[in-house]
Each structure stands twice: as C-alpha cells, then as structure tokens.
Symmetry: C2
Subunit: 147 residues, 2 copies
DNA sequence: CGGAATTAGATTGCGTACAATTTATTTGTA
DNA sequence: TACAAATAAATTGTACGCAATCTAATTCCG
C-alpha cells in the first residue's frame, strides 16, 4: 500500500514543514496586497503601522525586534512611510544613534481606514476559528523558541 | 483583568494570523541559509531541486504550480541552477512554448549531499512531533483552500 | 483555413529580506 | 579621562516575489 520508505523521504516536499509555511505565508501576503493597496500600504508597511498604532512611538531598533526585521529592511521601508506622510523619523535626544519613529496625524487617521483590511481578508483563509487559533498558537510557539 | 475590547483589536499584531506566519516562515528560511550554502543552494533553488528529485523532469509551468511561483520568479532561479550545473533547460519538442527542466548528473548527485540539510535543521524548531504534524496539516489545509 | 484568443516563458520595475560593511555615537573600563 | 568595545542606523550587493507587459507558439472556432 504505502511506498517503501527510504533515506531520501526527508527531501520530499510533502514531508517538509518549512515549505507549506513558506508557501502559505507568501499566498496570504499576496491576498493582502489588494486591500492594502487601497489604503496605500504594502504588507511590510502595514505591520509597521500596526505596531505604531498599538504601542506608539518607538525606535527603529525596537520596531525591528517586534517585527523580526533588521535595519537593512526597515530603513528603506520607514523612509517610504515618511515620504507617504504616515510617520516621522527623528533622532532620539538622549541617544543620537537611535531613531524615534512616530505617527503623523495622517498616520493616526489611517488606522480607521485600515479596519477594512482585516475585513477584506475575512473568510479568505478557510480554517475554522479553532483551527485558526491552534495554527496561530503553534506558529507563535515556534517563533518564540526559534528566535 | 483583561483589556477592554474595541473595534481596533483586529489591528493588533498579536491577533493576526498572517504576521506569525510571515515571521515564522522568514525565520525558518533564514536558518536554512547556512546548511544550504554548504551545498551551493538558496532556499528557492532547494525547493526546486526537491521537486525535481522527487518527480523528475517537468516543465517550468508544472514546477511553478507545485511551488506556487510564477515565471517571473522561476525563470531567473532556473537560469542560475543551470549556470550552477544542476539542471538543464530545453524547449519541449511537442510544444515549443514549454520549457522542460531536468536534472544533470551533478544535479542528481547533489541529492545525496542535500541529506545534510534536513539533518542540520533537526531540533531547530522547538515543537513536538505531534505539534509539527498538526502545524503542517493546518498549513497544508489553509494552502489548499486558499489557492 | 485563418484570425482571435489562449498559453508558456521572458522581461521590467518595484519592494522587500538579509548578510556584510560602514559611520556615528555611546558605553565600559583600565 | 582616553580609548577600545559595543551599539544603532545606513549602505551595499545579492536574491527573491510578483504584477504587468511582451513575445512566440499553439489552440479554438467561425
């Protein structure tokens, strides 16, 4: 019935954990693209804004720690958000190495419009609520331990 | 005890499914980088090779369907794999639009060396076997239904 | 049969990701 | 207090990932 197992089974796509993780993330981020486009954000810009909406002003470093992104990625993303008028970037007074990232009035206003994004995504991922909770818990566990 | 719920809770990072998915995928792919570097592959090249090792020659289109990648991504990746000497790219005789991707001798030989990759990853993701199976099943379900 | 529609890859342009390096600032310590 | 070590961003270079577009080959139909 079943195929004969051999040492190369570990190289089969169906036996991977990383591949469905990679593909699923990619597909879901792709779905975000359209609703995000309507409010003028990319996915990366969106998660930056979510952190600022929830926690307020913080440094680029702190932002990076929350988002698992380094300055190589964040610096250009933040410059674009600044150019779009959603955030301010200013050197911290206490430590001139740090860059404080804060919301502009338009950045704060955008939060209301952003409510349509999770709404647009609603129902796109065909998992039950319990399955979604289980999936999220396992991902968060893997993320925390893998750090 | 708990925070008062409001309509903006859906915009909190901790309530997202996509964010841990995105971050987890990114972190795990990052861990692959080192062992893959030892056998001369990137992660994207690796999943291409896995498909070819498992299923043999197929067109770029078929490869893309299995990996959720389009020609914009695959064409340059396949050209690099060709330059590295792991695959051949040749137009299909029956349909000159299609490109058959097949393994070279070096590409076949690489399979043995690639066994060290899952081995190097072993234990890096701190989930129990059952948790890993649950996670993979949920990801595959989400992936299939979202397609 | 023959032109329109479809299809497979390739190309272009933009936006990440990230390792590695650089620069400026701050901290730790002899 | 000098000065080495550490730290935060910025920069550089490489590799995706994908939407949009283009080209060539094939198929569909009237």
């Amino acid at each position: 019935m079943s195929e004969s197992p051999d040492k190369f089974d570990v190289l089969k796509l169906g036996n991977q954990l990383c591949f469905p993780l990679y593909a699923c993330a990619k597909e879901i981020v792709r779905i975000y693209r359209e609703p995000l486009g309507k409010i003028g954000l990319t996915y990366t810009q969106y998660i930056v804004m979510m952190v600022l909406w929830e926690f307020g002003t913080m440094t680029e470093k702190e932002l990076g720690a929350k988002l698992y992104l380094d300055s190589g990625t964040l610096t250009p993303v933040l410059k674009k958000l600044e150019k779009s008028g959603f955030v301010k970037r200013q050197r911290a007074e206490k430590d001139e190495r740090s860059l404080n990232i804060s919301l502009t009035d338009n950045g704060i206003k955008l939060k209301e419009k952003a409510l349509q994004v999770p709404q647009a995504l609603d129902g796109c991922i065909h998992l039950s609520y319990d399955e979604m909770l289980t999936l999220r818990a396992l991902l968060n566990k893997a993320l925390k331990e893998t750090k």
